[in-house]
Homo-oligomer: 222 residues x 4
């Protein structure tokens, strides 16, 4: 069985900040231990260090700049993420777009610091382009599914399948995540059936009253 | 004697990251206690929470977004800064420019969370404009002095004096920092003689072998 | 009677491109001649030069960069606008935001080339800040009115009145436009009653079957 | 003999504005007719329409936005470029970077309007990524050569060769331009020997006293 990865993006939700981030991390740690599925969490930067220390799950940043450490105020370096204990970082999320040159620099900075890069993309062609940069993961976020309440299980998943195909022509080894429209264990199964290695999701876990219950459902068909 | 503020911007310097940030914070705490001068520090976001807990000095973020907590990946909210123990944030640093609407939103977000806003500006007119937004501080960074090695003590300080004058027409109470060209106690004295309430500086402290010695010099003529 | 200005922003609407821009410019020229009201037009850049040559109305760009002519690809300089016959430019429209430093540079570049600067703003404080930069016009675009179909005549016009008040503290001579929610002559009259010098509007003229008829209505209560 | 393309980027140089743009276009038209080499010109937007009408050479924009015509002020649509007579557009020039999603949207908008897309890139990996988007051209601008006065003939051209190789894995048919360090006919020959289909250059033509003489040298070894 191939390894399945579930990444939970806490965004800047209040329900995912500070003590709430700890609550969700605990649920992730529990369900990961029970199921054997890798469950990572992407908190806001100030929560990154405490979460990485207190929980035995991979903690990812939501954004990393490709700048070299030095005279760059207000940026987040891959080196600072590594020092803080991060396992990797999202790059180019639809809510934090970067230039092509910036994405490439961020991927390289992650590689230099031996942390994972997860480049988010919006369609078939940008997925192929991102794969050409050699990141660890490409996460496909079809804009029509983001925050829509429409699940990939019910929507036409053609864009995921076509993206996987386009990515594979360019890069055989990059891991791929389905990055929107994930609400249930059925969605996760469809995502892996379509050839992706897991999912990136946010509100359905972050805003849940019982995040562990949602996570147990998500891993139920893996 | 009016209160004098010294803010140390650690930027993304390696010399200001992790353990090094602690080292500089300790020096700042010591010299602040000795001198009665307020000395704040602006670390990278992952260092913010530990520094705010361990040291009795104000800790500022280098950047804050004006977004409302929610679906905004890779942003830093004022609420998250407050929860992490920040005293405030730089806004619109020359290395992290924001739109006018973004600056205003960041200033308001700081005010709503009762943390300080420090808006950086580059000349007389932008200083007046920033003052009109009602932040706690305006920090004037003349681009010809940034990272130039030229001290405000030796350069023509007309731009600082003119900016103070332009700011006062718009806003009588905002505090003003001299934000570039600060290297010595003489520079700090000139900055306050010109009507500003302190200084914002970076490399001369961050890259010093003995930050406490540099800070003792900086406060020597206050 | 104070001079009233009506600026028509053609945006990138198909209905305002090429031959359609000429059609709207002709309507503006006719109604301006009939009424004595100044009616300007803001076309896409490729239409600017022909419109400025063929019609006796002021033609404004939708955007200008503050860069000095030189090694800056894909930018629009104030000098190039002047050479093309532009009367001025919008700056910092809500659909084309600039940094504070960028707005200031654009305003200065317009002034150096003796063309008008029209800085768009989104609320009371950013309006005051923009006024501090000394442009020729500030155009207030309350985001709740932009493209909403809500007319300033029916919505609470408090934000316009408060902005005028805040602008006047900072700058007594800058001209002010009401930049959203304008649909009829009554709206224009309310805009001028609130102390602004005219209006900036888009779709209600650009998408009209008979732009001259809409313009005649707009000037009817001046 | 494969077709060779020379694109002259006028940037915002005064020497390439208005009457000066006409002067360079005339030189390009003359040398293209003499040599059979395709010589295109990339003027500022207000010069695009007159140049496209008056000269029998391809005229390219320096930038195009991927936005759909509509409520987007201060943007340049591919449709507006087509209407103005443009043959295509540079996209993502090093002085006008776009997001990955933005580049893809611009390439698609050019394709929909049947004009050429020329995506600029900065290294081997971004060149491969750009090629994955399916533009008509990729123009490789190694940052160490841009505006450096260093010619590709003398510098190590490894980055060009490696980029060509990486592009060809992803896209067999995209045409490739060497986008920096071009000063002479020898540079153009080296560029084509390295497997690229021509060059993109700026100051050495734009700032020349006799642009035709420079262009004659550039085509001399084709």
């Amino acid at each position: 069985m191939p390894e399945v990865t579930i990444l939970i993006n806490l965004k800047t939700y209040r329900e995912g900040l500070g003590e709430n981030a700890h609550r969700i991390a605990r649920a992730a740690e529990d369900v990961a231990a029970e199921s054997g599925v890798t469950i990572g969490i992407c908190p806001q930067p100030m929560d990154l260090h405490p979460l990485a220390r207190h929980f035995d799950i991979p903690v990812y940043a939501q954004h990393v700049d490709g700048v070299v450490p030095g005279a760059s105020t207000g940026h987040i370096t891959a080196e600072a993420l590594r020092v803080a204990g991060a396992a990797g970082s999202l790059i180019n999320h639809s809510e934090r777009r970067l230039t092509l040159a910036g994405i490439e620099a961020s991927v390289q900075a992650c590689a230099s610091n031996r942390i994972h890069s997860v480049v988010c993309t919006n369609n078939v062609l940008t997925s192929a382009a991102a794969a050409a940069l050699g990141p660890d993961f490409v996460a496909i976020e079809p804009p029509e599914l983001i925050g829509s309440g429409i699940s990939v299980a019910k929507a036409d998943p053609e864009i995921i399948g076509n993206s996987v195909e386009a990515i594979r022509i360019v890069n055989e080894s990059v891991r791929i995540l389905t990055g929107a429209g994930i609400q249930s264990g059925e969605c996760v199964r469809i995502a892996t059936d379509l050839g992706t290695d897991g999912v990136l999701l946010a509100s359905s876990v972050v805003k849940a009253e019982d995040p562990a219950a949602v996570l147990r459902d998500l891993v139920s068909q893996v």
